[in-house]
Amino acid sequence: MRVQKLISRSLLSIPALLVMTQLEAGVDRNLAYPKPGTELTADDIADQVYYANHFYSFDNFSIKRRGKTLSVLVNKTANDNAKITTVERHLNNNYGDQDSIQSRDLAIFHSGKLRGTGMLVTEYRDEQKNKDYMAWLPRLRKIRRFAQPAHEDDWGGSVFTFGDVMLRKPSDETHKILGKKKMRTCLGIIDSLEGKVQHNAGRIPERSCRHQGKEVYGLKSTSLFEDWWYDYRISYVDTKSFADYRTLYYKNDELIKVIDRDWGLVNSDGEGDPRALFWKYWYGLDLTTGKESLAIVPKKVVNFNTNLRNKFWTERTLRKIKR
């Protein structure tokens, strides 16, 4: 019973940087960047957004520990102190077309109640096959498997849900383009933390205003799930890189939640795939509760297309995690 409790807690506590390896038929690493001048449909845009969010431009992508610097997830309730979790994450997309595995995602927690816990998520090419979720439980020194979490479950106790960060597929919604316009506002941030120094993340970023003036699509996505927690959401999608800077969630035409994502191009020479992006931070605000979440990925902990071999993404690595 206690073990089950621990497992379910681990499952519900995967923080902001474990993220997004999930795949679906139709959107995979072979999705080409649209040719200039191509008229895109709403579904095309949704697919491209999915591609960018799942780091398909990279063979592998790691957010690893560098000295004291780590990626952090901050959760702040309306009348509570900010709670901080640190995590390391390694994503591997480098599996052949004949391989049954599509991708693997390994997360290791370095602080909080989940300290020492490891998670390995395996996505299979066969869409009918469930994803594998394995957790290394440090107190038991054992690996446990568990079922896929629900889309609406909180992600690491944050404003973000599992659907927001990893489970939702373009086919779960219908899409409609609202038009193109310029982005007018800065991205959100937790006011009380803006620009302050944090032990692991270094200086917490200030609100990002550098996307102002960029041309974005308005993409309205209506959920196909019945009695869902939102009716539709509107995303601001960059017309060139397909980075979704902002998503607004509506229920009964009332704004209920906002997620802002500050994206940065990984290759600063500006060459290569414009979708080869990483998140600098995620900010979430739940307007019904006043709860805020902030996931920060310092640039210096980002590594990609490294020489790590596929066997790194196995149970053996989970077992090596120090208590």
Partner: protein
């Protein structure tokens, strides 16, 4: 008059709770929600009506940086890194534009600072070569 320890801790707890409540109120009342609502309305109305005096918008009165244009970016460098700005202001407009575009795509200020020094060296080297050729 002396406080009893229990009274004192209650008082401290009260002050702490009040501070937290005020902090949380700031997060929601900073004008962020109003700003994003007016932003998203533009998709349907095709007109942008910004709320007055918001720090989340790129209008002239806003305290947020005007990063969309080169002048705004230069001001941003001057504020964020006065040391680098000494070298930045001596660069040609081509280099400045290059740095501006780099910052817009990567958001990496540390990288921009390094490149300011790289471009400064490059400019000096180029001018030495051109002087030598003359």
């Amino acid at each position: 008059m002396r406080f009893k320890p229990s009274c004192f801790s209650k008082l401290l707890f009260g002050i702490a709770s009040l501070t937290l409540l005020l902090n949380s109120a700031n997060a929601l009342d900073s004008g962020y929600v109003e700003a994003i609502k007016s932003d998203v309305e533009e998709f349907t109305t095709h007109e942008f009506h910004p709320p007055a005096e918001s720090s989340w918008l790129s209008n002239k009165d806003s305290s947020s940086a005007q990063l969309a244009d080169l002048q705004g970016f230069s001001d941003y460098i001057r504020t964020k890194s006065p040391g680098s700005y000494i070298f930045y202001k001596k660069l040609s407009n081509d280099y400045k534009s290059k740095l501006h575009q780099e910052y817009l795509s990567t958001g990496d200020l540390d990288r921009v600072k390094k490149d300011i020094f790289n471009y400064t060296r490059e400019m000096k080297r180029n001018s030495r070569i051109s002087n030598h050729n003359r």
